[in-house]
């Protein structure tokens, strides 16, 4: 069988070009070269796979020119027709982690090539990409390189061969939120007793099923000057332009809609409706302002009570009335609201 062809992505530091001062190094394809951590992968692969090219890119360059860097690197990867793409590992380097996550995601989803990266669990790249990618959990510094490669290489080969991927604890990746079965070494009752003994003696223990997120975020300071504030509307009640152009699903929607309110004085049953399947839609369809109060906010805007109603609103559909879901894409539109200098948000839920 032919060897699996691998393209490896690393930053300027691991390419031994330099540290922070060289972080603006643009993306570069080095065909036939195996650099830095690549040698460790190469020996871990044995006869199974070979690195055919290494892509080097400075972390600042990538993050500051993200669209161009991504496009350029995708072209470089494509040109090598690899069977597998590996980025990093990035350990605890934040911008490197974000770059590895971004490019691994792009190679996987845009090129359809099996792809893998690795980083420390607290790397910001984990929060952004853990639910979309296999990210091998590594130590927090390059001292953990050997251990990282030892876990990444076999998982990468499995991905390249399209084999079934086991549970996160077995394969060594950071949990993706997808539950995967496997056989433990001890039976469940023994594991429960062991866990209780740890809990009783205040030793750390790891639950096998983390409960949904119960963390709290501290409140932001109040709006000081409402008369000049830009207020945005967001709803989990699924109000969308009639016909639901973005096909927001009727429950636990997998995406959100961004809609323009420019020139909209009030919502009406002719132009808006609800996509939410979690409540009787009659009242919202009859008068969508009952869920998204555009009419009132326009009036308050005219009277000068608020400075401005933001000209975009965001809409999605929660799981029933539980608006806890949808964390990932909420973070995404929260960034957009921030970029648009929104001062405060009214979130309506059914």
């Amino acid at each position: 069988m032919a060897k699996i062809k691998v393209v490896h992505y690393i930053n300027q530091f691991f390419a031994q070009i330099g540290g922070e001062e060289k972080a603006d190094y643009p993306a570069e394809l080095r065909v036939g070269e195996i650099i830095g951590p690549g040698t460790a992968f190469e020996s871990a692969f044995g006869d199974e796979a070979e690195i055919v090219a290494t892509i080097v890119c400075g972390d600042s360059y990538f993050n500051e020119n993200i669209d161009k860097a991504k496009a350029d690197i995708l072209e470089m990867v494509k040109s090598q027709k690899p069977d597998l793409f590996i980025a990093g590992p990035a350990f605890n380097a934040g911008r490197y982690g974000v770059a590895c996550g971004t490019i691994t995601d792009a190679v996987l989803n845009e090129l359809g090539i099996p792809a893998l990266t690795g980083m420390y669990e607290e790397n910001p790249g984990v929060d952004m990409f853990a639910s979309k990618l296999y990210i091998v959990s590594t130590k927090n510094s390059a001292a953990g390189m050997r251990a990282a490669v030892k876990k990444m290489a076999p998982l990468a080969l499995k991905l390249a061969r399209h084999e079934k991927i086991g549970a996160s604890v077995v394969e060594g990746y950071i949990p993706t939120g997808v539950r995967v079965n496997f056989f433990e070494k001890e039976r469940g009752a023994k594991r429960a007793v062991d866990m209780l003994l740890k809990k009783l003696s205040d030793k750390p223990f790891v639950t096998e099923y983390p409960m949904p997120d119960f963390d709290r975020v501290a409140p932001n300071p109040a709006v000081k000057d409402m008369a000049h504030a830009k207020i945005a509307l967001v709803t989990s009640g699924g109000i969308v332009p009639k016909g639901n152009p973005d096909h927001i699903e009727s429950s636990s929607a997998s995406h959100y809609g961004e809609y323009c309110l420019d020139g909209v004085e009030a919502l009406s049953s002719e132009t808006y409706e609800t996509a939410h399947g979690g409540y009787d839609p009659v009242y919202a369809n009859d008068d969508p302002n009952r869920v998204l109060p555009v009419d009132v906010l326009r009036q308050l805007e005219k009277e000068g009570v608020i400075g401005k109603l933001h000209d975009k609103y965001y809409s999605t559909v929660g799981n029933g009335t539980a608006v806890a879901s949808a964390k990932a894409f909420a973070a995404e539109y929260a960034q957009k609201l921030l970029e648009d200098h929104v001062d405060a948000v009214i979130l309506t839920s059914t």
Binding site: S251, G278, Y279, D280, G320, T321
Partner: protein
Amino acid sequence: MLVIITNNPLIQESFGSTYTVDYEALSYDDILIKIRDAVHRGASILTHPLYGSVKPKETPYRSVLMEMREGPVDMDSLLLIEQTIASAGKFPNKSAGYDEATLNDCKIIDLSLLQGALRSM
């Protein structure tokens, strides 16, 4: 007012004289939505809608005892019905191919489970 919302005709036959039975020939999903809408109007659920370990849609029948009210939403009932609808969504509809005898088994189990619950009232 206590009402049994059900799509099991046997409930009407067995409890019709002692309880108010709101029977409608609805699907498993639709009977849950009917319960949900009642909860949204203020009704309380008294028996767990995910009763029985016969998996959702492995039986086509659901019968739930409710206290019908209009007014503020009962939080526990709301969570319960929403969790139930979410759980039911995970299961494919298996009961479509059932013959009469099997449907009858399903009706009797449904009746028995509700009977068990009503006994403890």
